[in-house]
Symmetry: C2
Subunit: 212 residues, 2 copies
Amino acid sequence: MVIAFFKILNLEPTESMMNTELILKNVCKHISLDKVEKDFFISLLEPKTLRRKKIYLQAGEVCRNSAFVIDGALKSYTIDKEGKEHILSFATKDWWIADMYSYISRKPAILTIEAIADSDVLLLSYENQQLLYDKVPKFERFFRILIENALVANQQRLIDNLSSSAEDRYLHFIKKYPSIPSCVPQHNIASYLGITPEFLSKIRGRLARKKA
Amino acid sequence: MVIAFFKILNLEPTESMMNTELILKNVCKHISLDKVEKDFFISLLEPKTLRRKKIYLQAGEVCRNSAFVIDGALKSYTIDKEGKEHILSFATKDWWIADMYSYISRKPAILTIEAIADSDVLLLSYENQQLLYDKVPKFERFFRILIENALVANQQRLIDNLSSSAEDRYLHFIKKYPSIPSCVPQHNIASYLGITPEFLSKIRGRLARKKA
DNA sequence: CGTCTATTTGAATGTACTCAAAAGCGGTGG
DNA sequence: CCACCGCTTTTGAGTACATTCAAATAGACG
């Protein structure tokens, strides 16, 4: 909540306040940047603080930004015709989140994005991203790689959904994302796995009994 | 099967034989190319003909190429521990197919890719793709967009799987890909939808009776 | 025409869901 | 500090959706 603190004092956030280290490290995993490029990139970001339950993007609006999570946790989800929430993705520290469809097509978002916990994010607007592509073409590569990885992860998840039981999917989830269960309510995890909260509870009961 | 014909005669396929129009049109939907760039791109492609049931990529091997389908139909799938096949994607005319994970990581493929019908494809090797990125950076953009679209489609499918019944998923599928049911056996569609062939048959029976 | 594979049909079963109610768990105020 | 509130999780009984297994039909190809 560092950024929030400076916001309250009504100071312009500076680089040091923004905790740019994390995002630069994230980018430099895939491309190398010199000082000027780093500074330019950082200058395009807008820090933002979200309180728990704050809806950052409402389905129906155009998603104008990609958000990089510095701290906290967000979720993206759809609401079906019966009013049920289905979580497409979580994003915690060091992850990006957006309604990809809306962001790239400039059409109304299908997803709603909401803070699960108080969160600090850095926003990169679509316009700034295009600017970035023009001035520092390396970023085409960075975001291509980012999306490639997202696609692969998504495909894995799809295969998982097609081939595994709810129990196996849950076990796989807590193994792959051990940090998430601690910061996300259980019924959200059920939604992500595509099962009801009641059933997830029963699975957990069964597993606990099995272990004992 | 034009390419196959020339292969039999042992002639080097030329541009005109390769039906490059389709792939160039596919590329030029997103980036514009001059003659030299087009020719260079085409020079990096390798035409290949696959008979029905031919396994083009075996899980465990490294996926060295992306395949663009000129004609025919392919599927990518995994086999689970119980020996059941789960189809991740189909590819017909004007689509790309690869084991994305293996292709970008150079690690053993998770997916097997197989021709469902006799097919003609154009292969772009990983090395040639890197070459292409170097010489014609616009292609970074093209493949980024391609993957963005693939990611969005995948996310949609995931949401669909989380939120809809098998019947709704089937209806959605035949609406979205009306051309596929005619060239793909029904049990493959069941596998894609994540249900058993028997159950898909029952759904179809129910729908037919409903309509009448 | 016979063989092989794909699809359909039916009965029994299992996995996951619905609905309802109870128990747990922070917070907040008296 | 305890009592109460709202929200999440657990538990249980009954139900629905989808699977398994087995057998019958239908289609495709030599």
